[in-house]
Amino acid sequence: MGLPNASEDLSSEMEVDAFRRLFPLRYFERHLAESIRPDARSLSRARNTTISMGAVASADGSALAKIGSTTMLAAIKMEVMTPSLESPDEGCVSIDFHMPPICSPLVRPGRPAEAAPVVAKQLSDTISSSGMINLKELSLVGGKAAWMVYLDIYCLDADGALFDAALLSAVAAFSNLQIPTVSLDDGKIVMLPEEQKEENSEKEPVNKEKRKLTLGGIPFSLTCILHKNYILADPTSEEESIMETLVTVVLDSSNQLVSLYKPGGAVLAYTSAVQDCIALTRQRVKELHQILEEAISGMEID
């Protein structure tokens, strides 16, 4: 075949950027042979991660999470609703993931991105199966009133590992959540604004003590790419588009496997590859846990 020879001849004369565009797989494989990636990371290192809490002042809980350039903004609004008949003392969590056209040149206005409903469903599955939120805590008056939690996550910059960043921002937003005070007013639940707390004695807040959710096992995730014998942790969107086999492992803080998600892909995952991915995720969980703790304590000092 003429093509491999062509790239060998041209590579000495071509500029690096042109080679990167024309022969992306060969460009990456040259780097992988030296155990490094084009952005100078090692194969198992994730990008710089930051969390900033309380990014949206009007929301009851919010967080902005950045993994490298991938940016996710999560915001939580709470509303009172009547619980369903099958679970009268449980609240409800509704998760929506949006990819507006700002996030990537591949997303066109008016046409929803392909990845959006998949990530949304993955997120709601992961959050419900990790047991992070105890729905019984969201109940106000058994059988009559319960909280409906609307979690909206907006992708502001899509540069690979969307699910990881979205999960991190959701977890951070739940850690930041302050449940608004409500009181019972003639049998109806009424939201109390912050300043009115001491004045009206008839309007005793129903949930004065419990303003924060107790979070169960907090899930953290890591997406890896499998390519031949290499495992690359935390891919960028360029790496994801060239090497298509992705594996996402979600572990909770007690290292229990919450989810192993591998949607097809040319490379098959053997036991050793799965074990390596889980080991990488375990390390990443420790890092993320620490970053989350620092962000929470940073908020509390204020």
């Binding site: 591949l106 469903k121 599955d125 496997l257 591998k262 949607p263 097809g264 040319a266 995952a269 889980i278």
Partner: protein, 218 residues
């Protein structure tokens, strides 16, 4: 460990499987696959000329349309479409017919647990019926794990809802070759142990042991 299943099966016993091909006369390939009461119909049209805008024209592309039994198409259907598309892309040889689109339409006839594995198996059978070139077949299975750590295969819908966690796993089928070098060992394991696709739901502890159990029972 003795487990009582509602229909009296062993933990590792699958429901009766039934598959028929070429049931739709207008489609290029079709198959119906049922596992117990879960039944899925798959139809394949293609290859047709041309690819969609975002697809790579140097390769054949696969388009999946998932039709639920009732209701409108929502997020779960879109997710199934994407998982099925990526699984089928990894088993079909995409370089043989470049710049073509093969459509796979999945119609759910009845859902009684293990719906996605049933659909993957039906889609594979329909692709074979249509004559689309593939590297190997994909075999899909659902396995659940309960709190006490035991694992059961091919759950019904009631069992799925009661269990702590379940996983849909897709493996390539074994290559039985007349040549002695045919079945290769990759990294010390036979090729059929590699996972093509895995979707899990719910927390599962003792993770790899359950995967190994399901592999040995395929």
């Amino acid at each position: 460990m003795e487990v009582d299943r509602a229909d009296g099966r062993n933990p590792n016993q699958l429901r009766p499987l039934a598959c028929s091909c070429s049931i739709l006369h207008r489609a290029h390939g079709s198959a119906s696959w049922s596992q117990g009461d879960t039944k899925v119909l798959a139809a394949v049209y293609g290859p047709k000329a041309g690819t969609k805008k975002n697809e790579n024209p140097e390769k054949a592309s696969i388009e999946v349309i998932w039709k639920p039994r009732t209701g409108q198409i929502g997020k779960p259907e879109k997710e199934y479409e994407i998982i099925l598309k990526r699984t089928l892309q990894s088993i079909c040889i995409l370089t043989i017919n470049p710049n073509t689109t093969t459509s796979v339409i999945i119609q759910v006839v009845h859902d009684d647990g293990a719906l996605l594995p049933c659909a993957i198996n039906a889609a594979c059978a329909a692709l074979v019926d249509a004559g689309i070139p593939m590297k190997h077949l994909a075999v899909a299975i659902c396995c659940c794990s309960a709190e006490s750590g035991y694992c059961i295969l091919d759950p019904t819908k009631l069992e799925e809802q009661k269990m702590k966690g379940f996983a849909y796993l897709v493996f390539p089928n074994s290559i039985l070759s007349v040549l002695p070098e045919g079945s290769s060992l990759v990294q010390g394991e036979p090729m059929e142990h590699g996972i093509i696709t895995s979707v899990t739901h719910g927390a599962m502890s003792g993770n790899l042991s359950t995967l190994r159990v399901s592999v040995s029972h395929l």
